[in-house]
Amino acid sequence: MSKTDTSDKPVKQIHLAAHFPGVNNTTVWSDPEAGSQIDFSSFVHLARTAERAKFDFLFLAEGLRLREQGGRIHDLDVVGRPDTFTVLAALAAVTDRLGLAGTINSTFNEPYEVARQFASLDHLSAGRAAWNVVTSWDEFTGQNFRRGGYLAREDRYERARQFLTAVRELLDSWQGGEIVADRTDGTFLRAAGPGRFDHRTGQFDIGGHFNVPRPPQGHPVVFQAGDSEQGREFAASAADAIFTRHGTLEAGKAFYADVKGRLAKYGRTPDQLLILPGVSFVLGDTEDDAREKSRVIRRQQVSGATATAFLERLWNRDLSAYDPEGPLPDVEPLVDAEPIVRGRADTHRDDRAETLARWRAVAEEKKLSIRDLVIELTGRQSFVGTPAHVARQLDAFVQADASDGFILAPHLTPGGLDEFADTVVPLLQERGVFRTEYEGETLRDHLGLAHPDHPAAAGREKAAS
């Protein structure tokens, strides 16, 4: 098979990760093959599939309060997930190379504890830990935590930035090499009181001694997820990879160019930030077969009740009286009322009128029912086709600089990646754009990211040169 790229540009290697399908309506729980999203065996299955396919890492999302709609717990989607750190540590026991990436909120945690947890995970996995830093401001989730909901919305990235800085300072408080453990002369530590740190900024007033030695990767790989202007700057300044939702070629290329273009002002090069969109896929024996499967899956993902619930988020009112197979509601949204949805990021806080006009126009033009409109609007499968077709598309996407790879979200737990691993991955390997064996030990190795030098070591090098 010939490579897609005919220019002088070197062929890029694709990075692949597996997103454990969990709490959302793209996970099809009604399928007879759908298994538990909680039992550890499900995590083991997906992780081993991903490792068998030589994926870079497994990715876990997080949510710290159950979603509500209309004052009641949302009951239509998968609900319930285990603790991120605990699952990843356990997965380290049943995998050898696969990276282990967890979403951890910087609002409802403290830097000392998170730094300990990631340093411990990195030690316990021999260098495979990654952190997807997310932020939150909402009081709704805060009601589960000591701090409560006092963080102002505009402060969330400032806290995230200081949080990440503090965690890196804690991890750098051990340079590596402090532990001598010489039995004969009785020297355990090279010097007394390792791990000294002092971080006094607007959000944190902490100091003392960190109690975990420097982990194998130095720092966990840091992901940022979020598409706002602040989020892009945060990623460009501080992250190793960015988890995006731009699954189309044109949107992907625009985002890629934008974010990579922001790196220079932080003294960074384009290869120091990987861009990895979260995408879905449907495979079939023929193109038509795949399209039909995709259509069926979309209907499973968007039931009538799910479609109504989706609309209620924009209308911000109870729409249960409207037939989801009928036309859009003729009533106007409630703009000033309390949000009907709690615990979900996108509640159309700022763009309600504009969005409503667009939806009405689409529905009218294509003569869509509520349910068909929601199917039209939401997360269609990014890659649909035969394995050969999907492999070509994925490769073309990466070679066109629309991304550096993909975080694949199967729609079935836990077997949804099996077919991809068995059919698409070998084709990517044949094209020479995906590894056939792990070349390194750590996640940083897989992603082609440098192991961060300790600041003191970097200083010594500078002084010597």
């Binding site: 550890f40 159950l66 453990a181 039995r183 355990f188």
Partner: protein, 401 residues
């Protein structure tokens, strides 16, 4: 000697290279491996070989120190440790029977996070999770979080009014913390996930419950994000040396670790905990009281005492801590344990003086000795930690049935 007796429960407490400060210098010690998974996996496997009920894994939010105020200036002792919950999770898939009980500090952490972490440890170990809750009265650990200050009281002043007030505050908060954690474990009824394709509902939301906890240190709304774990409620343990923590054990825990130095003390501790249990309205519930002992074990008479003396010779004064230090043969230890058991203890947590040596002596010498006396199991008789400890699976407080 052969006599019929109630079988004992046996745990080991894992900490670094062992509980003796110079354990890391022993010939078979692995001080360079303390921060690697295989080290902990090997220790857990050895405990499981001995059919032990559970292992605990020590933890703290600061560097180990010989001082109560902050890090010391020593370079000849083990310093640094991994998060105990993550360590327990890392070894869970590699073991099948032994209970896994990490220490978690409750003074500076979030009950919501710990609740789901221990529930998840229960899932990844299929029903073998517990947690040993610990308060932190150290000013240096408080400074690592910067959210509150803890007055630095000398140990001698813990019985002063200020000391008692501090202990009451910290242990009162710990009791609230455990209450929140337990309510969160119950916040999903066991059959809340229904996957009802006909109605399109994944859960029956009437079987999920807000816990609505309000207290002086935190309020938590709930429900948990993690469904009720396999054991319903994992086992809650605490180490207790005095009245305030005895009250925590009696009112909140399933298992208390205590440090009697003779059978008279053992009987007095058990009596105090039982009384507090009655006061807390838990008179009818099983609350295990284990005795903690630091153990040097060798089969050749006098050898353990020699090892202990050799290790102590490297210190300014012989090693002594909160718990009785035993050095002797497995027959002598079995005698001692059975005496203590007769005073009312239902089991023991042995703290190996050196690892892995004393742990192997426990699993390979002490356990067969106790088995010969009919005082310890000869095979695992249950799949869960609650099962091993004879604790029932708790009913869900929110279920209306």
């Amino acid at each position: 000697m052969s006599r019929s007796t109630t079988p004992l429960h046996l745990a080991v407490a894992l900490d670094g290279a062992g509980w003796h400060p110079l354990a890391w210098r022993e010939p078979d010690a692995r001080p360079a491996d303390l921060f690697t998974a295989p080290y902990w996996a090997d220790l857990a496997a050895e405990a499981e070989r001995g059919l032990l009920d559970l292992v605990t894994i020590e933890d703290s939010l600061g560097l180990q120190s010989s001082l109560p105020t902050g890090p010391d200036d020593r370079t000849d002792r083990v310093r640094g440790r991994l998060d105990a919950v993550l360590t327990a999770a890392r070894i869970a898939p590699l073991t099948r029977h032994v209970g896994l009980v990490p220490v978690a500090v409750v003074t500076h952490t979030e009950p919501f996070h710990l609740s789901k972490a221990v529930a998840t440890l229960d899932y990844v170990s299929t029903g073998r999770a517990g947690v040993q809750v610990r308060v932190s009265a150290r000013a240096d650990e408080a400074a690592h979080f910067g959210r509150r200050t803890v007055p630095q009281l000398p140990v001698a002043e813990l019985d002063s009014p200020a000391g008692r007030a501090l202990l009451a505050e910290l242990f009162g908060e710990a009791a609230d913390y455990v209450e929140v954690v337990r309510r969160l474990w119950d916040s999903w009824e066991d059959d809340a996930e229904i996957r009802d394709v006909a109605t399109g509902r994944f859960i029956d939301r009437d079987k999920l419950h807000y816990i609505d906890f309000e207290g002086p240190h935190f309020s938590v709304k709930g429900p948990s994000i993690t469904p009720r774990p396999p054991q319903g409620q994992p086992v809650v343990a605490a180490l207790a040396h005095r009245t305030e923590p005895f009250a925590l054990v009696a009112g909140s825990a399933d298992l208390g670790f205590t440090t009697p130095h003779d059978t008279g003390q053992a009987a007095a501790i058990v009596a105090e905990i039982r009384e507090a249990q009655e006061r807390a309205g838990r008179g009818g519930e099983t609350v295990h009281v284990f005795g903690d002992l630091v153990v040097h074990l060798d089969e050749e008479p006098g050898r353990a005492a020699e090892r202990r003396a050799r290790l102590d010779a490297g210190l300014d004064a012989p090693y002594s801590g909160d718990a009785l230090v035993f050095a002797g043969t497995s027959a002598e230890l079995a005698d001692l344990l059975l005496e203590f058991a007769a005073a009312g203890l239902s089991g023991f947590r042995l703290r190996p003086a050196t690892l892995p040596y004393d742990l192997a002596r426990i699993s390979r010498d002490l356990v067969p000795e106790l088995q010969r006396r009919g005082a310890f199991r000869t095979a695992y008789e249950a799949d869960t930690l609650r099962g091993l400890l004879g604790l029932p699976r708790p009913a869900n407080r929110y279920a209306t049935a």
